[in-house]
């Protein structure tokens, strides 16, 4: 989904506006569940029957996580973060539960390629969205440039904030491959680290930026 700069002529004043993903959601779920449509219609239309909970208040949802369709039975109040970490089996634990209030960034995931706090998204509201976590960006054998740079520059200590930083910076570099230091600070001002790795994180982001330049050449 790198179409946000393509500038579809959908609205007089909003050429940069991103197009939305329409999720067919549960009921009409078929193999091809993603479809690009025009923004005015671009509601993540949750089919009516998907919001009809069973008597115990739970409902079955399907999430698109790191390219895989994953199903779980959750409550409407279950956050995306809790759904990923505690309801999927096996769980997706890259996003960490730290503040649970959208104030620390450790649970950062990409929703349709833009960073979001998974603790401030309801799982039912993430149906039909493309969800990417640190696990989806790379594996120890095939790390993405940001992950490689984090290891190389020692941009982690205890590592609990790290998947969130990696995700936020990966999102930044997709949108802005040559960020300045200020832009890097801005992109992860909503991510906090207690061990104090920030300067290393900045170095890693700059290194990854340079690496992606080389890859494109």
């Amino acid at each position: 989904m790198t179409d946000r700069r393509r500038g579809e002529k959908t609205d007089a004043v909003d050429p940069g506006r991103r197009r939305f993903l329409k999720g067919v959601g549960l009921a009409g779920a078929s193999a091809a569940i993603i479809d690009l449509i025009e923004p005015e219609m671009a509601r993540a239309e949750t089919p009516k029957d998907s919001v009809q909970p069973s008597p115990d208040g739970t409902l079955e949802i399907t999430l698109l996580v790191n390219g895989q369709r994953r199903t779980a039975r959750v409550e409407p109040r279950t956050t995306l973060l809790t759904a990923l970490r505690e309801y999927l089996d096996p769980p997706v634990t890259g996003p960490k539960l730290v503040c649970d209030m959208g104030t620390c960034g450790a649970c950062t995931v990409l929703l349709d390629d833009a960073p979001a706090y998974a603790c401030l998204v309801l799982a039912v509201d993430a149906i039909g969205k493309k969800i990417t976590t640190a696990e989806g960006l790379g594996t120890p054998d095939r790390m993405n440039p940001v992950q490689r740079a984090f290891v190389e520059k020692d941009a982690l200590m205890c590592g609990f904030c790290t998947p969130g930083f990696v995700t936020a910076i990966s999102a930044l570099l997709r949108k802005n491959p040559r960020p300045t230091l200020e832009e890097i600070r801005e992109a992860c001002q909503g991510n906090f680290c207690r061990c104090g790795t920030y300067p290393r994180v900045f170095e890693a982001a700059l290194m990854a930026s340079a690496a992606s330049d080389r890859a494109e050449e």
Binding site: V13, D14, P15, R43, P76, R77, Y117, L120, V121
Partner: protein, 336 residues
């Protein structure tokens, strides 16, 4: 979070009906809530400040996320337009720069990606007594504003009493300065209200709310009129922590200058210092017909904070806000 019913209407009328027909509630904090980005609402629900029985997801309704118009025609922003889109929109940046500034100043990229303009205007106060489940303060149906005589360094210096919250929105001061209105849909149809009349002081409206929106109403659109001062506008926000924080004080300012740089029209609205975006007409009037100069700036800053009544720990907000006013106006006047 308390259990709730999740509904996803596809039309405004259906949404209003879902809000109106929700199970009866004993306390306004248990009223059903419209749900957009959820970036503030979910935090209040996790702390059991708000305990809605039903959430009405607005994101399946078509047309609520449009950005239309420009500086000449005026701007119409659907309530669901995200802060990230406002921040990045080149026409808003050109014709309504303060709005761009304000959107960019909010929280973090993660919040701005999902947070909407409607939600930003309706977010609840940050006062830590209000935000703590264990404290039943005046705004939660209790009998006291504990901030009034407690830890009040972040609280109101203007317009306070009996509650001393400050309005946390960054977009609100700008939109008030630019003369914006909100379109509100309810059971009786739609009404359009100037934003200045939308927000209510604790001493005027209900102490439990910060605006006139009823529980069965939703904001559908924010309308910013074309004006001669919108293009020369700015939003300055001062945060205690430079990273991800709310305003200790902020200033939205807009000027129309004559060719000889004298001020023809001025708008000055303060944020972070009062329970509502605090417009200072007397300070605005001082600017009209004059050129921006240090002496004038001092007079304007004095006038703007004239009515300030600091509490025990927030007197610093007076010189801080005055400094922001001088800077905002200096920067505006310096623009080509």
């Amino acid at each position: 979070m308390k259990r709730f019913e999740w509904t996803a209407p596809t039309s405004v009328a259906e949404a209003v009906e879902l809000l109106r027909s929700a199970p009866s509630f004993a306390d306004p904090d248990e009223a059903p809530r419209p749900f957009a980005g959820g970036q503030d609402l979910l935090t209040t629900m996790k702390e059991y400040i708000l305990r809605p029985s039903r959430l009405v997801n607005l994101k399946a309704i078509r047309g609520l996320d449009r950005i239309q118009g420009d500086g000449k025609r005026g701007l119409r922003l659907g309530a669901l337009v995200t802060l990230a889109r406002i921040e990045e929109n080149p026409i808003i940046k050109r014709d309504f720069p303060a709005l761009s500034d304000a959107a960019r100043s909010v929280a973090s990229p993660q919040i701005r990606h999902l947070g909407t303009i409607g939600g930003n205007l309706c977010q609840r106060p940050r006062c830590w007594y209000y935000r703590l489940e264990e404290v039943v303060c005046l705004k939660k149906g209790g009998t006291q504003c504990y901030a009034a005589s407690g830890e009040n360094k972040y609280n109101a210096i203007l317009g306070g009493g009996p509650s001393y919250i400050v309005h946390p929105s960054d977009l609100a001061p700008v939109l008030v300065a630019l003369g914006a209105s909100v379109a509100i849909a309810g059971p009786e149809g739609e009404r359009v209200v100037p934003l200045e009349k939308f927000f209510t002081l604790p001493s005027e409206g209900s102490i439990r709310r910060e605006n006139i929106l009823r529980h069965d109403e939703i904001i559908t659109e924010i309308q910013v009129p074309a004006s001669r001062f919108a293009a020369r506008s700015i939003y300055l926000k001062f945060k205690e922590r430079a990273s991800f924080d709310f305003a200790l004080a902020s200033v939205a300012a807009a000027l129309e200058l004559d060719r000889d740089r004298t001020v023809r029209q001025a708008r000055l609205v303060l944020g972070g210092v009062a329970p509502i975006p605090w417009r200072v007409p007397k300070a605005e009037a001082l600017l009209v017909g004059k050129r921006i100069a240090p002496d004038l700036l001092n007079q304007v800053a004095e006038a703007a904070l004239e009515g300030a009544r600091p509490l025990a720990h927030n007197g610093y907000k007076v010189p801080l806000t005055q400094a922001l006013i001088r800077r905002a106006l200096t920067q505006l006047a310096a623009r080509a």
